[in-house]
Symmetry: C2
Subunit: 192 residues, 2 copies
């Protein structure tokens, strides 16, 4: 195994362990020692890859957020009609939250607590730009309500996070039918 590959493997193992432990216990309740143990690495080794605990979690956040948005916008083209584009993006997001539940949970926790520092948070927000552009186009074309992007996001996208939480807590099972129902509710709340 090449040296570079080995380094990448270790870094990935650390990121993976961070996600799992932070998901289950929260940032401050996951010691570096446990992250190291789960990644089969010495605590000291973490500091070869990351500056400190905060840096580890910031970088993990950015990495996961990047994966998330890459997945979300993968099949979307700017040339698509607004309605079709929205449906595609929305369903990709839903799908990501379904199959990459751990990653999505981690993002939700980062976005809802003071765990991530402000620069990384801002960096994370940028990734959503294509969706905001799509909405702007929809507003210009008179298809989407001319209201604040924050409200559009609150009604069209954020509910998925809540459903994922409930799913994780075992309160209910998210099926394809639910996803379809949720999509319809999402579109109804933003379309004119």
């Amino acid at each position: 195994m090449a040296k570079l590959q080995k380094s990448i493997d270790k870094k990935n193992a650390l990121v993976k362990a961070t996600i799992e432990l932070v998901n289950n216990h929260g940032f401050h309740a996951t010691p570096m020692s446990k992250i190291a143990k789960m990644a089969n690495v010495s605590p000291a080794t973490i500091y070869l890859y990351f500056e400190n605990k905060q840096d580890l979690v910031n970088k993990t956040y950015i990495e996961v957020k990047t994966k998330f948005t890459q997945y979300a916008f993968n099949t979307y083209k700017e040339s698509m009609p607004v309605k079709e584009g929205f449906e595609i993006i929305w369903k990709r997001i839903a799908h990501f939250k379904l199959i990459e539940c751990e990653h999505a949970m981690f993002l939700a926790q980062c976005d809802n607590t003071p765990m991530i520092d402000e620069p990384s948070r801002q960096e994370g927000i940028k990734h959503l730009q294509p969706l905001l552009d799509l909405w702007q186009r929809g507003k210009d074309e008179g298809i989407i309500k001319p209201i604040s992007d924050y409200i559009l996001y609150a009604y069209a996208i954020n509910p998925l996070s809540y459903l994922m939480m409930m799913q994780k807590n075992g309160n209910f099972l998210l099926t394809e039918t639910h996803i379809e129902e949720a999509y319809i509710a999402a579109w109804n709340s933003i379309k004119i």
Copy 2:
């Protein structure tokens, strides 16, 4: 000042300090010593009122959640028509999140992290029963979509939490107009 009153004052000061500090730094990053300092009390005194840190935050959660739901359902009567009842409850909830932002933020953080233990979390959920009953009535009358309560909640209520977060982060200012827009989006996504 009567003895009992004094005790209640101290307990309230502790709860208030807990909310403020946990909001700004998270559960594990708020030491008991800081909570004590902010409440003008010795660290040891906390243990006269609460068993330990976990108990302090559990009890704080239940107290805030109780206040929240009392406020939310205050003017609602079961005799109201479904649509009117929902509008009243929804707007009370929105109003609470607007004027009692600190309390609402605290609840959001509790609901999105592993900070609260499971029994307290379950206890908190129970408080929402009147809203679930109203929705059931709406479904029976053919006014509200026959879909899972979780999805109804995700679309009708949860978006308010997101908007409150954005407001808190200074990203945008939540006005009466926004609230009205959001209410319409909420109703559109749950009505038949």
